[in-house]
């Protein structure tokens, strides 16, 4: 209730609200979504300890688009997302088969350079996972690791990434303070900045707003919308209204007999207005899932 008193350096509510009202509704004519193939899954299957979690997904995601993955819990959305930057390699018992091409290169090949791949494919998780260091160091560690060593370059990249997520003015005086002292919404934006600071080509977001309050959630949503056209964005969300607001394309996943599958994929408008599959229709009308 009296948030604005206890945290003086947060923007006054009317400013925040004006930010939210600037959301652009989905318009199919918007030119950000170029028909250039960026991510192409061909017969992609994911198993955990031999148990099929996601079966033969074929999905082509265009460059610069926002693609939303929706579907009930346990249908393999997170698994699919994590196969795009091969975080699935780190999960014990997880096996990915089929092909997954980024601009024509199969990243599932054994020869893929994982560190380079993950620099190009940023990822944000549901719970903001800031490192227990200062704000500045959170951004500096990945930058240094990827070869940016020069002090002035470092600080200019840090400033621009923090500005991009609207955090610069809020934290510029306390870059050396622990990142964990930030609010949940600010932490999530810091995570976003930490991914953006490496200039990725693809951004994967796994329910990035679901742990946040509506205001912070709106801010983060706005930021992601601003990135449309610059990056290819794949976002998992359980919030269908959010998917409708943000996405150019929607992929509906469903778990059939315990195996996750891609049920339907297409432009957001047609998925929401004229779904082909009856499960999709039931799901988006709130009857199932």
């Amino acid at each position: 209730m009296d948030n604005k008193k206890s945290t003086p350096d947060i923007k006054p509510p009317h400013e925040l609200l004006s930010g939210i009202q600037s959301w652009r509704p989905y318009q199919s004519t918007q030119p950000c979504c170029e028909p250039i193939l960026h991510i192409h899954a061909k017969d992609l299957s994911i198993r955990y300890h031999q148990r099929m979690a996601l079966q033969q997904v074929n999905l082509a995601i265009n460059q610069g688009c926002i693609t939303a993955l929706v579907g009930p819990s346990g249908c393999g959305k997170t698994s699919f997302l994590m196969s795009i930057n091969r975080l699935t390699d780190l999960i014990p018992g997880c096996q990915v088969s089929g092909q997954l091409e980024l601009k024509g290169t199969n990243i599932l090949a054994a020869s893929a350079n994982l560190l380079q791949l993950r620099r190009k494919v940023g990822m944000i998780f549901q719970k903001p996972a800031v490192f227990p260091f200062s704000i500045k160091r959170n951004l500096e560690i990945p930058l240094r690791e990827h070869g940016w060593k020069d002090k002035t370059t470092l600080s200019s990249r840090i400033e621009s990434a923090l500005s991009q997520v609207g955090l610069w003015n809020e934290v510029k005086d306390r870059l050396d303070q622990p990142a964990q002292a930030l609010s949940g919404g600010q932490q999530q934006r810091l995570c976003l900045a930490r991914a953006l600071v490496l200039s990725p080509e693809i951004l994967l977001l796994d329910e990035p707003c679901s742990a946040l309050d509506p205001l912070s959630s709106g801010i983060v949503e706005d930021l992601i919308m601003d990135l449309r056209g610059q990056l290819t964005i794949v976002i998992v969300t359980h919030n269908l209204a959010q998917a409708r607001r943000m996405a150019d394309h929607v992929a509906v996943f469903w778990s059939i007999k315990g195996k996750g599958q891609l049920l339907e994929y297409g432009p957001a408008q047609s998925i929401f207005d004229s779904p082909q599959h009856e499960l999709t229709a039931a799901y988006i009308s709130g009857a199932r899932g």
Binding site: N85, L87, L90, P92, L114, L115, Q116, L117, R118, R119, G122, M123, F125, K127, A129, F131, P132, F133, S134, R137, I141, P142, E145, H146, P178, Q180, C191, R194, A195, L198
Partner: protein, 284 residues
């Protein structure tokens, strides 16, 4: 009806907890009280610094403190890097379900339960005789290192494993190499665990008697090198109490010093760990 039975349940639980706490506290207070009662008036700066005389009945414990410090120092200097390295290996490079990892963990758990006298015999055979280090501070420290390693490794490993999966995944998702994420994310986050492990090990090492009798020896002179024999505090207490008639007063005073040291180390370590977790910041 329901509410009243709940309050009775709650009350009896509270009672039980308090009784248990009292039963734990009584022996501790008794022990410390007894030590203070018998040892306090023998304690002085001179006692702490002076050389023992007349088989320890008179004089102080200066050289013994120095020997203890050296033995424990050797022990930790060897055990800490090996322990952290082994813990890293177990938690980061061997999955939980792999046979080799289970084998190592199983043997560590067995080793942690081995009586210290066995370590003493092993240390004597291996360090004193095979490696020809003789009865020396070095032999004693190395033997202690073998003894504390299992606890140290297991505690530190747990603290590596306790680091949230999100943190690891985030580090990997940023394209950080394994080396980088260990150096910048895992090690700093595990510092409190490493400290706790070290304290457990240090405490066990400082209080050790049996493992040292056959390895660092009894000599109560001021050591001049790590190859000298040196007498540890606990051995001094044991010797005064068991073998020296009229040694009890100084045994009490020495015990008081030992307990005081252990408590101090515990206090400092928990302070550091606490500060580290609340501040959570790397010194840059």
């Amino acid at each position: 009806m329901l509410a009243s039975s709940k309050t009775i349940g709650e009350k009896s639980t509270t009672l039980l907890v308090w009784t248990a706490a009292t039963f734990i506290a009584i022996p501790f207070c008794w022990l410390v009280g007894d030590l203070l009662w018998h040892g306090w008036h023998h304690l002085s700066l001179n006692f702490v610094l002076a050389v023992p005389q007349n088989a320890g009945r008179e004089g102080g414990i200066g050289p013994i403190l120095v020997s203890t410090g050296l033995i424990v120092g050797v022990c930790m200097a060897v055990a800490l890097p090996i322990g952290v390295g082994a813990a890293l290996f177990l938690s980061e490079y061997t999955p939980h379900d792999q046979v080799s990892g289970r084998l190592v963990r199983g043997s560590l758990d067995v080793l942690a339960g081995v009586p210290s006298i066995i370590f003493g015999l092993f240390g004597n055979a291996f360090f004193c005789q095979t490696l020809e280090l003789g009865f020396s501070i070095l032999s004693g420290g190395l033997t202690l290192a073998c003894m504390v390693l299992p606890i140290l490794i297991r505690t530190v490993e747990e603290s590596f494993r306790a680091i949230a999966r999100d943190q690891r995944l985030s580090a990997a998702a940023l394209g950080l190499s394994k080396k980088c994420s260990i150096q910048y994310i895992l090690l700093p986050a595990a510092i409190p665990g490493i400290l706790v492990g070290s304290i457990l090990g240090l405490g066990r090492a400082m209080a050790e008697t049996a493992a040292l009798i056959f390895t660092s020896g009894y000599v109560d002179r001021m050591p001049t090198s790590l190859l000298d024999s040196g007498r540890a505090l606990s051995i001094h207490i044991y010797d005064l109490a068991m073998n020296v008639a009229g040694g009890n007063p100084n045994a009490y005073a020495t015990a008081l010093v030992l307990v005081g040291l252990l408590m101090m180390i515990n206090l400092i370590a928990s302070r550091i760990a606490e500060q580290w977790t609340t501040k959570n910041q790397l010194p840059t």
